[in-house]
Structures are given as C-alpha cells and as structure tokens.
Subunit: 362 residues, 2 copies
Amino acid sequence: MISKVKNAMSNLVGGMMPHGHHHHNNHHSGGGQTCGQDSLPPRFPYGRPDFLDLTPELLQYSTEHASRPVLALKRGSRLPWQTGYAEVINAGKSMLNEDQASCEKLFVKKPSGKHRNSTLVDDNGDGTGIPLQFWGVFDGHAGSGAAIMASKLLHRLIRDGLGEICHLLENPSSAPPICLAKNGSPYQAEAKKGATQEAEDPDAVCDSSVRFHMEKVVSLESLIMGVIETAFKQMDDLIEKEKTSYAISGGCCALAVIHLMGKLYVANSGDSRAIIIRNNEVIAMTNEFTPESERQRLQYLGFLRPELLGNEFTHIEFPRRIQHSELGKKMLYRDHTMTGWAYKTIVEDDLKFPLIYGEGKK
Amino acid sequence: MISKVKNAMSNLVGGMMPHGHHHHNNHHSGGGQTCGQDSLPPRFPYGRPDFLDLTPELLQYSTEHASRPVLALKRGSRLPWQTGYAEVINAGKSMLNEDQASCEKLFVKKPSGKHRNSTLVDDNGDGTGIPLQFWGVFDGHAGSGAAIMASKLLHRLIRDGLGEICHLLENPSSAPPICLAKNGSPYQAEAKKGATQEAEDPDAVCDSSVRFHMEKVVSLESLIMGVIETAFKQMDDLIEKEKTSYAISGGCCALAVIHLMGKLYVANSGDSRAIIIRNNEVIAMTNEFTPESERQRLQYLGFLRPELLGNEFTHIEFPRRIQHSELGKKMLYRDHTMTGWAYKTIVEDDLKFPLIYGEGKK
C-alpha cells in the first residue's frame, strides 16, 4: 500500500495522477472496471482550482493529511466581486482532495461558425459580449475526475447556451418569442407583423390573424434558467460520453452561481448549499438533495424501472436492514406514494439492499 | 336529446340511473367502452350524501339546472362537530351532480375473523372501539360513479386499516415497534426483552444483544398517516377491480379529514382544498394538485414509461399547441428536469397533444 501511495505521489507531481485512488482498499470494489479505467488517460490532470495558482511543490503539500494545510488565495491576488476562498483536505478519507471550485469571468456572444459547440474556446475571448460572472463548487465523491471536469467545463457550457439566445439577451425589454425560425431569428413575431417570408423558410405562415388560446408567456429570466438547467444535463451527458476515451472517476455535486445582466442565478444539484449572509443573518439560497428530500422521486424511478435496480436493490424503504430470520414477519415500510409508514409482511425481495438508506448530512 | 334526458330522469327517480350521462354529446367520446359499461349495473345507485336524507322528489328537484336549488341540512338535523353543509348543482355541465361528500362517525377496533377485510361492515358496529370522525369531499369528473363509491367506502378502508394497528393505538405512549410477529404482536420488543419464543414463530430471534445501526424511529402519527395514504391507494385499486363487474363512471378528487385521538389528519389527492378559518384568517390545510404542481412528476412518468402515452401524447411541455407548418422551427419547451424554458427544433413527435396542458383553476 505504501509503495502504491508513493508511486501515486510521484505521478501526481508530474501531473499524471490517475483520479480516484483511495487509501482504503474497500474503495476499490469497482475491480475490473476500475483497472480498465486506469489504462485510459485522465480527461484533465489532477490539480487545485486555477485561481490558487499552486506550484507543483504546494500542490503536493496540499495533499498532506497529517498537517492539513489551509490553502487560500495568494497574498496580493484578487478575485472578482471580492470573492474569498479557502480549502483544506479531509483527514484521510481520500488520498486527493476530491472537491473543486471555479471562479470565472466570461463573455456571452453569438456563436460564430468555427466556435459553435466547442467547449474548448478560451474563457475570455476578445473581451466583447455580455459579461457573465460564474462561481462553482463541486463536491466530489469516489474520485476527483468528475469534479475536475465539471469545474473546467460547466461554465463554458452555460456561456455557450446563453450565446445561442444572445440576440434575445440583447433585447431584454421584449419577451422571448415562442417560436424561432430555423436561423434563430424570432419567427412568430415576424409572422405576426406580416413580414415577407424568410428566404430559408418556405413554409412560414404569414397569416397575422393566427391567435393561440392559452399561450404561456415566458420571461427572459426563465429562458436563462433553462440554459443553466440544460447545461447541467449536458455536463452529465458529456462526462458519460468522454468516459469511453478517458478515465473520469467518481461523481460530484454541482453548485453554480451566475451573475448576468444585473441578476444572480443560483443552481444546485447535490448536497452543497449556497448561502447569503446579510446583517449577520444567514439566508439559504439552495436546498440540499438528501436521502429524505429525494426519497420519493428515486423510489418512483425504482418502481417504474426495476431493471435499474439490477436485482441488487429494493425501492421500498425500511427503518433498518432486515435480517433473514425475520422473513414472514411484519416490518414498517414506506413506498414511493407514502410519507407515513405502514406494516408489510417481509418477503425474500425485501432482503435486498434498500435504494434509500440513511438520512444524509445533518 | 330531450327524450334521452327524460328517459334518464325517469330512471333516476327509480334509482337505476347509470352514472356518467352528460348533456353534451362530445362527452360520449368513450364510444364502445361506455356502451359496454352501461350494460353493467352501477356499483351504488346515484344519490346525494346520506346526511341530506333526500326524498325521491327532492333528489329529482336537486338536479334542476334552471332553478339550481341550494340543498342544506334538514331543519332540526345535526351533524357531529357542528358540521355545516350546502351544495348546488352546476349550471348544466353535467346532468347529475358529480360531486359527493360524507360525514361519518366510526369506531376503530381489532379486526375479528369474520369481518376481516370486509368494507361492508356497518359503520357504527356496536359502538365500542376508538372513536373516529371522518369528513370527505369528492369532486367528481366525467361521471359520478367514482365519487359515489369513494364517499361510501373510503372511510371504511381507513377504519379497517386503523383496526389492524388497533393494539398500537391503544398504547399511544410507546413508539410503534419496527417489526411485528406474524400474529401482529410486537415482535422485536418481545425479542429484546428476551421473552420466550412465540409458539407460532419458530424462527424468532431472542438474542437481546442484536442492535441496529441507523434504525429510524417511527411515530404513531406517521403510522396513522400511512394508513390513510394506503387507504387512498386501496380505494383506487378497488375501483379498478370492481369496474370489471360494475359500471363505475368517471374519476374524482378525494379530500379527507380524520379526527382521531385528539389529532386532526388532512389528506388530499386532487384539486380541492381544505381550509381552517380562525379569527377571520383563512389557513390553507392542503395544496391543490394542478398542472403546474404535478407537471414534472407526470412528465417524468411519461418519459420513463412512454407506452402509457399511447402514441397520442408528448411528455414535453410547450407554451401552446404547435402547428404542422412550424415543423423544423424552434419552439420554447420544458422537459421533466426543467423549471426554466429552452428552445428545441420541432420534430413530428412534438405535434402530439401535450400531456400537460393549461394551468388548472385559478
């Protein structure tokens, strides 16, 4: 074990550390799959957030579980919005710090042909466009790969999604049109004005008398929320896709705060929490996902798609693990439709590991 | 049409009115299935709540859409808890009043062999047991059958469910045991005391040293909530089962209020609302189910089980219906993961009727 750690540490300094190594052997239960992953290159090398600007020596120092040094911004360096930051590694739960953070200033602009759908474009570009300030924290679990990748790319996905609606952001006083032409220009608004048909759009209806019953009005803000929510999903899909070519270990919570056009947007998926402190009062800006808050949704999924439980889990919740000797007795349980509890007779299937277990952080 | 109504009215007075007839022919879109149902006998004859104690003449009078008489309790009759009640038929949306109500005093007691699982037992029995006061309102849709059946049986299902845990209700000071023996006695509590094995239970573990990590504590109140939630589900299952033998038309909202052992329990499924008025202040006790509140849950179901959409509906929400001429353009949409909106290119599948449409009552 010691030699393995030493070897990993020397790789680490060289920036080649494969993600997801742990002190505890029982974390290697992935077995063959983990070994297969190890032969793939990491998507991004292990490191701490860019804004800490660590030297290789400091990076190595940051992983010492015995001294647990607190890392903060370098003296004299400044982040936008007087952002503060400090981190410390855990007491030995994982060899590397699996959590990540990012703080980026970006510019939203119309996608140009060559940059379309490229998340590799420089963050700052040429400094033109609508400014966007992004903060993110990514609480990694069972490996640092997903958190590193999300900290490098989530803000770019959001920027690119906003770029697609850039022409709407530039006219914030008018509500977004329900329908756009293929080239992205406001189709319906044009049609209602009775404008001439767009050249690329031979089917355009120009009858300005068309009216729609129960048409919902959608605000620009909810369009921005839609971009952020979609980017979270795209980030997930991208990790899944790139896992075929790279070693991307673990998963992570994602908490993103975006300042755009005078408004602050906060999005969370997982068990972190954003707070605002004002006049010594703590205002929670997000709610954590916990086994309690997500129980019914996940049980419902397990109920509807039992094949996802892989014959290993039961979607029914019990107040504790059941022993084999209790078969045939009655145990308290909760199903996806219930907030209260009832008794059911224990059958063989109930001995499987419960999909929902524990209560999360307190 | 007139002769059909006349015929229905004469059937009504004879108590043989099949449920679910409407003035409007477009409500008969069920076609063959409805005709098939009509040949089955109704599960319960049409009527108004028992506590109104209407004569056949008053029952007929109650259905007059022109005069719309207000029905209230008979002079001199009293309901428990000074319960008040008044109803009036709609202005012609349906021929009969599809809504129902119930107000019942029941007694919870241990199930005896012959009465077990019988929802046909008299409500009052011999007046022994734990008293339970039940109020229910059932807002029927597309027929009165389901609302009538629920108003006759839901309180009995709740009473019988509580009867199964009667021995726990009788000892409210001790928390319900996690596990019961097959005969319903508190199994684990016995085992922890190291009592002798129960005769019918040869596998009983009597090792009092057995301790469970992360065992949840379940209150008696959450057990009562579990009974009520389970009864709602049982009511649904019973309607489905009896539809093979009886004509049970439509569906209904169910709002139940139960007073038991000094506490008031309120349960709702649908778009009714329970309120308490205190010092002229209105306190909402339930939240209605609306297309807005249930959107993501239903979209998620449609996404996970597309076969339930019958190739007729799309689980994606759009701000309005899409026209065929808009194929290939971009339309605002929301999927089950989103609270905000985004644009998607319209494909053939998006022309289907949306699963979520409209915003419910305002």
